[in-house]
């Protein structure tokens, strides 16, 4: 089962749309509530990251009987130092984004905490691809 969502950079009112849809489907599959929670938290963080930093993005979700794979691809500034970006509290979010209650520098760290596998590939000036796998 595959799903695809588009994300619009800068549009915070739409952030959370993909994670809510995915959540509804995971409930229909009868996945354990804690597991759903982790996936949804990680996906929501991913969505917000794209909205806050990139110009546009796309989410591909692949559901299989024992795992869910989520790929979040964006066109944006990219991440120069991924290891640094993974640290809690590190953020490059603009003042405007922070004023909206986002950009506390917990995003990537929180995603790592809530997924079984997380890989990040990024090219500065082009964009970032985050791949997450969660096993049920």
């Amino acid at each position: 089962m595959n799903l695809e969502f588009n994300i619009e950079g800068g549009n915070f009112s739409r952030a959370g749309h993909a994670s809510s849809e995915v959540k509804k489907m995971l409930k229909q599959l009868g996945i354990d509530a804690r597991c759903i929670k982790s996936i949804v938290i990680a996906l929501y963080e991913g969505e917000v990251n794209v909205v806050a930093h990139a110009y546009e993005g796309r989410i591909l979700v692949k559901m299989e009987p024992h795992k869910i794979t989520t790929e979040i691809m964006d066109k944006g500034p990219g991440i120069a130092d991924i290891e640094l970006a993974m640290q809690e509290g590190y953020s490059t979010a603009s003042k405007a984004v922070r004023e909206m209650g986002f950009g506390a520098g917990m995003g990537l760290a929180n995603m790592k905490k809530n997924t079984d596998e997380l890989t990040i590939e990024s090219t500065v000036g082009e964009g970032t691809t985050v791949k997450m796998v969660n096993y049920f």
């Binding site: 089962m1 959370g16 409930k27 229909q28 009868g30």
Partner: protein, 458 residues
């Protein structure tokens, strides 16, 4: 651990139901379907919020209640009612007159359930302090919300506060007071007056506790009518001794912010089940800031907007707020004998853990569920997506899910039927029979006084 079969308060009167779509459209859990011209409630999904009952234009959804004659078998006949009941009476009737009317109807003792609220308040405070990990703490006051969380937000059941509701407090308090006067257990009959059907279900098959201690349920709108018949504006009896433990906090408890104002540094109150759902979606995604306490109520204006309330909800709130000003806050009653002897009562307010009962899975087997979801996704491509409800399901997505679960057919969709007719795949008469079967013959007869016309439900 849980009761074998859940009791549901809502019943559809097949003689009255015209098989329209009003109830189906407002149901927050998509629990209603229409077939053969009648609405059906799927019990595993129903949370007893009563929104369908409110929306029904022909009053075909009703709530059972116990026969009032049942009270006569007891020596001590106690009426337990939430303070919100007083609020629906016109201001010209005093509390004393309302109490007097209740005694005239046949009760021997009158207790508002929110007395003494200080005990419940401190019990909830204890719980919140001792379980900081389960924040935000969600109130279990509204039974419809508790059930909603059980079936739709299972990951949040841990956040539910393990304390009982004011009607339990009132019941235990009444029993202990009457025993002091020499009453025996079997002589006491407790009758709870409910502002809504959710409370009926929670009394008949309580969530998070073994059994209910109430002997009977009375619908508030029914009792309202009886009181109005018995009440006398010329009388001025003094019944204040029965309200000694009633406080400002107790009177306001069942209104919006009635609980939230007391707990946590950061608390929120949300009323209206659709508002609650939107919020719980966010809460589950951890999209909300750090909150200590959540008061969630299924009805707009909380219990003042209860399905079995007679008065206008806003006028009810106004009267109660006005009334509350005459009463002392709960903390001032800390040293009364009732509160001092409350240790045992407090113990009785502890509830068992509430377990989740997810009701939205497509199949117990995950591979089959995934397969069904795939099929539903493909079916969706062919449905019109306007959620008209003419198939008997609340929206196209729900119809697709019903189809893959074997509860609906492609031909239930009137759009697909039209298309097939146009393509010559089915005959016109077959298509007509399909629709007639779904909605019943009566829907096709000319009738200028047809029930369920526009505005009838308002």
């Amino acid at each position: 651990m849980s009761p074998s079969k859940r009791y549901h308060a809502l019943t559809i009167d097949e003689q009255k139901c015209i098989g329209c779509t009003h109830c189906m459209k407002v149901c927050p859990t998509e629990a209603i379907r229409v077939s053969n011209g009648l609405a059906e409630i799927r019990e595993d999904r129903c949370v007893d919020c009563g929104h369908c009952m409110r929306a029904c234009p022909v009053k075909a959804i009703y709530v059972e209640q116990d026969d009032l004659k049942k009270i006569q078998t007891f020596k001590y006949r106690v009426v337990l009612f939430p303070a919100v009941m007083i609020g629906q009476f016109p201001e010209k009737y005093t509390e004393d007159q309302i109490y007097a009317a209740l005694l005239k109807i046949g009760f021997t003792h009158v207790f508002e359930v929110e007395q003494p609220i200080g005990i419940l308040k401190s019990s909830i405070k204890d719980y919140c302090r001792k379980s900081p990990a389960n924040r935000p703490h969600i109130s279990t006051f509204c039974p419809a919300i508790v059930r909603l969380i059980q079936i739709r937000y299972p990951s949040l059941t841990e956040n539910l506060i393990r304390r009982k509701a004011p009607h339990d407090l009132g019941a235990h308090f009444a029993i202990s007071e009457l025993k002091k006067q020499g009453a025996k257990d079997e002589e006491i009959g407790l009758f709870y007056v409910t502002p809504c059907n959710a409370k009926i279900s929670s009394v008949k098959s309580p969530v998070g506790e073994k059994e209910s201690i109430v002997d009977g349920i009375i619908n508030m709108n029914d009792l309202y009518n009886r009181v109005m018949k018995a009440i006398d504006t010329k009388e001025a009896p003094d019944t204040s001794s029965q309200r000694q433990n009633l406080t400002r906090d107790g009177i306001l408890w069942s209104l919006t912010r009635g609980e939230a104002r007391h707990f946590g540094e950061r608390s929120m109150a949300i009323d209206g089940i659709h508002n609650v759902i939107r919020f719980l979606e966010r809460l589950e995604n951890e999209e909300v800031p750090d909150i200590d306490f959540l008061e969630l109520r299924a009805c707009d204006q909380s219990c003042a907007g209860g399905i079995m309330m007679t008065g206008n909800r806003f006028l009810t709130v106004e009267r109660l707020e006005h009334r509350a000003r005459r009463y002392a806050p709960a903390w001032k009653l800390q040293n009364t004998p009732a509160i001092k002897a409350s240790k045992e009562l407090k113990q009785k307010l502890i509830a068992d853990q509430i377990i989740s009962k997810p009701a939205f899975s497509l199949d117990p087997d995950r591979e089959r569920a995934l397969e069904k979801m795939n099929r539903a996704q493909r079916i969706i491509c062919f449905l019109p997506g306007i959620d008209c409800g003419a198939c008997g399901a609340p929206n196209c997505q729900a119809l697709a899910e019903d189809m893959v679960s074997g509860n609906a057919k492609m031909s239930d969709c009137v759009f697909l039927q039209q298309m097939w007719e146009n393509e010559g795949k089915i005959s016109t008469s077959k298509a007509f029979r399909n629709v007639e079967k779904k909605w019943g013959e009566l829907r096709f007869q000319a009738d200028c006084n047809k029930r369920g016309k526009r505005n009838e439900g308002f």
